[in-house]
């Protein structure tokens, strides 16, 4: 848990991305997230992922840390793959106007049991596109948090006229994350010391097994929330609706140039990519694979 929070935290550095205007950092985040949400084709999703990794290098992030962040949602990748192998024929097949290229069954027929999970090139390509989307989301989020101080997020939000109470809540949530991670870890250790173990083959039992951990976490968090509220109140919160920001936010020439590039990229991603080049589907990669390996 603590290593998880370490992967998603601000690390002060003197890089081009760190020094951007906080509002521009948000625009950067959306310039990556929106195409990733709109596109599905693995070839083009890979392109976005490579682009995010390049951004990571500009922010002086290590490749190993980026890989760790990409690997974290492994259970999500596995679920996406399994879901598509078992449900693709019911959910996505209607998008396919050609004959599917089937590779076999995941669970073969045993007497009257099965078969289940009809594996096709299309289902695998579609699942890969979704997994790459998750990877882009996770990595882009890591980078955004890596080069954006929580106070910068608050500054940017307040420039967008988000209420002070909300920006402070967001700031406190970011600041409190490491302590919450430590608290969760302590509670899990305390219960493990009494023979508690997480997980079960039965999903209902697996959920019920978390009750001894969730209740102390919720109660401790509620108590702590009261203490934090008193601490915030005692430090003059509410004396002004416009607290002094730690950093002057003024768009420089570089900021203007970068915002033009990012907006142009967003427009291209939306208009040209999703609609004209049809990147929102999974057809380009599918046709390339079918042509290369199945001569279809």
């Amino acid at each position: 848990m603590s290593s998880f929070s370490n992967l998603f935290r601000y690390i002060p550095r003197d890089t081009f991305l760190h020094n951007l205007d906080p509002r521009l950092k948000m625009l950067w985040y959306f310039s990556v997230i929106i195409p990733a949400a709109a596109w599905s084709d693995p070839i083009f999703m890979s392109g976005i992922l490579v682009l995010v990794i390049i951004y990571g290098k500009i922010a002086n992030d290590s490749v190993s840390a980026m890989l760790k962040a990409i690997v974290i949602p492994f259970p999500a990748y596995a679920m996406v793959l399994l879901f598509n192998l078992f449900a693709f024929d019911f959910t996505v097949k209607s998008m396919v106007s050609w004959d599917m290229q089937y590779l076999g069954w995941l669970v073969p027929r045993f007497g009257s049991f099965g078969p289940f999970g009809h594996v096709s090139v299309e289902s695998l390509v579609f699942a890969l596109g979704i997994c790459l989307r998750v990877a882009v989301f996770v990595l882009a989020s890591r980078l955004f948090l890596l080069f954006t101080a929580p106070s910068d997020i608050v500054t940017a939000l307040s420039k967008f006229k988000v209420p002070l109470e909300m920006t402070t809540a967001i700031s406190v949530a970011f600041g409190y994350l490491p302590e919450l991670a430590r608290q969760v870890n302590t509670i899990m250790e305390a219960q493990r010391s009494r023979g508690w173990q997480a997980g079960s083959k039965n999903p209902v039992t697996a959920v019920r097994r978390f009750v001894p951990v969730v209740i102390p976490i919720v109660l401790r968090s509620m108590v702590r929330a009261e203490f934090l509220a008193t601490a915030i109140t005692s430090r003059g919160f509410g004396a002004t609706m416009n607290p002094i920001t730690l950093r002057e936010t003024k768009f420089s020439v570089t900021d203007v140039a970068v915002s033009v590039v990012l907006l142009a990229f967003l427009a291209a991603a939306g208009l040209i990519g999703a609609w004209y080049l049809n990147l929102a589907s999974f057809k380009v990669t599918t046709f390339l694979i079918r042509n290369a390996f199945f001569k279809v």
Partner: protein, 574 residues
């Protein structure tokens, strides 16, 4: 007519929290003059924190309840002022640093107050810079406050207070959750602050030996009322009162009282140096005679190790070496103290004993079983681990269910579970509460529930982690007495603690950790008679031991552990 040199005035103040049946503060009358440093002490639950909340306006504006009487801060009535108005004049630092730090970096944490109160960015940055320099936090500027040690975290909280430049500073048990090094760090900063920028200061504290040298006045609160309010020496000269309200006065003061059979106000020592001088005078004036020490041979412990560590290493997942080449035996039936400063590896080592962590290298045998390959069930039924805060584990509706949680995890029969629940409840004396909701019990009883819920696993070894942290002296002794009883009944006890006075009183053997290694391990008396080793581990010898070592030339033994022992050595002369 209000006199401007009165910073804080309480006029017949009583306060009852909503839902409570009794007042937490009762008819408090108090005046604190501008520039005074006032120390408030008293047992847990006496009303000290509530009194502080009245000063900075959290009461009545944040907490719900009934306030009678008036609290005036620089003449302004807290009922009609807002918390923001009061925050400009009164700054407060709370007891647990983790509960008051909420920003992502040290810089942002210290800047939060000035950002709300200042007019310009330059002013904010100037105040932040001054506070950061004063508390020597420049190198942590961009770090998360939560990644710092306990002492450093509290230094950040104090810097955040200083940067608001309040006219009144309140520090509510600022060192209750930190070790001796952190405590010294905090009070050193406070000493300098009061020297450089004299301002009205209220400090709530149990550790009087650290804080009294700073104090102009000492106020003792008991059961919501002020029972003493005077110069510290005058308050401490009333031995009857001290016994009655159960506060931990500096050991030198207690010792001097016992030896002299009562002291004049000006003779009451509040620092170690003063204590040594007073006792030295008593000995030289033949008012006290030092008797030759005849100690019974140490109680024989088992020669069978219940825990055996050989060349043990443990690395955290991020690669940090937490335990380095530790070889150590814990013997059956021992009462062992595992001590060391924050981050020395004592808790990590203890968590290796019950399988919460598995050694990276080396071997740990617990009751003959290899920790590396044993199952969780095998280990938790041999080594029980009672965590510092009972609220980290309590989740059931009744104490009975809470106690049954462990045995149920071990899949024992219902009859066996019932037997163990009743036996453990009886062992820690909570049988009358078995059907009570544990969340409705007091902190002390919840701690007993937590210990009992581990005892139901029937472990041969019980690890008690920081049982005295955040507790007053009387409650700490209750927990340690419970551990002693369990040890006397045959269990092996390992206590992790910062409180050297209690460790000296209860532990037969000490294991001193430093930087992931065992610095020294041996009988408590032997370990404490090596001050240079204790100094290396940044621990502090019990005050009574320090007195013995300072007066070695006058015949005092250098390895005295408790006041009772010291009194016996020097008793017989009035």
């Amino acid at each position: 007519m209000y006199v401007q040199d009165k910073a804080i005035v309480f006029e017949n103040v009583s306060w009852r929290y909503e839902g409570n049946k009794e007042d937490t503060l009762r008819d408090i009358n108090l005046e604190i003059r501008a520039g005074e440093t006032v120390v408030i002490t008293g047992s847990s639950g006496a009303g000290k924190t509530t009194l502080c909340r009245c000063i900075n306006g959290l009461i009545p504006h944040f907490y719900d309840g009934t306030l009678r009487g008036d609290v005036l801060v620089w003449g302004e009535n807290s009922k009609t002022s807002t918390t923001v108005d009061l925050a400009r004049r009164v700054g407060m630092c709370f007891d647990n640093p983790s509960n008051q730090l909420f920003c992502a970096t040290v810089l942002e944490e210290i800047a939060f107050g000035p950002q709300n109160l200042c007019k310009t960015r330059d002013e904010v940055m100037q105040r932040v810079s001054d506070a950061m320099t004063f508390c020597r936090l420049e190198k942590y500027r961009d770090k998360s406050p939560h990644s710092l040690s306990g002492g450093e975290k509290q230094a950040v909280a104090i810097a955040a207070l200083i940067s608001m430049e309040p006219e009144v500073m309140i520090l509510d048990e600022p060192t209750s959750n930190i070790d001796a090094v952190g405590t010294s760090l905090v009070f050193e900063r406070m000493r300098q602050l009061l020297k450089e920028k004299k301002r009205t200061t209220v400090i709530v504290e149990h550790k009087l030996q650290y804080v009294l040298p700073l104090a102009d006045r000492l106020i003792v609160i008991s059961d919501g009322t002020i029972v003493a309010d005077d110069e510290p020496r005058k308050v401490l000269s009333d031995a009857g009162l001290i016994d009655k309200v159960q506060i931990q006065v500096p050991y030198v003061a207690t010792l001097a009282h016992r030896l002299a059979g009562g002291l004049r106000e000006e003779d009451v020592p509040i620092t170690l140096e003063e204590g040594v001088a007073v006792i030295s005078r008593l000995i030289k004036a033949n008012k006290v005679r030092v008797k030759p020490v005849r100690r019974p041979p140490p109680a024989k412990t088992s020669e069978k190790p219940i825990i055996s560590c050989r060349d043990v290493w443990y690395d955290y997942p991020d690669g940090t070496e937490a335990i380095k080449d530790v070889s150590l035996d814990i013997f059956d039936g021992e009462f062992v103290g595992l001590v060391g400063q924050n981050g020395s590896g004592k808790t990590t080592l203890a968590k290796l004993f019950n399988g919460l962590y598995r050694p990276t290298k080396g071997k740990i045998l617990v009751d003959g079983i290899d920790v590396a390959t044993a199952s969780v069930e095998e280990l938790v039924s041999r080594v029980g681990y009672s965590f510092q805060n009972p609220d980290d584990q309590i989740f059931c509706k009744t104490v009975r269910d809470e106690l049954a949680f462990g045995p149920r995890n071990l899949k024992l029969s219902q009859d066996e579970i019932t037997r163990r629940v009743e036996s453990s409840a009886s062992e820690v004396e909570i049988t009358p509460y078995l059907d009570a909701n544990p969340f409705n019990l007091s902190q002390g009883l919840r701690q007993r529930v937590a210990v009992a819920s581990v005892l139901t696993l029937n472990p041969k070894v019980l690890v008690v982690d920081e049982p005295t942290t955040g507790q007053d002296f009387a409650r700490s002794k209750i927990v340690m007495n419970l551990a002693k009883v369990l040890c006397d009944r045959g269990r092996t006890i390992i206590v992790i603690s910062h409180n050297m006075d209690l460790v000296a009183e209860y532990c037969q053997r000490l294991v001193v950790m430093l930087d992931g290694q065992v610095l020294v391990s041996g009988p408590t008396r032997e370990v404490f008679s090596q001050p240079e080793l204790i100094g290396r581990s940044s621990l502090e010898l019990p005050q009574v031991t320090q007195v013995g070592q300072a007066l070695r030339d006058l015949g005092l033994p250098p390895d005295v552990l408790t006041i009772t022992e010291m009194s016996e050595i020097m008793s017989g002369v009035k």
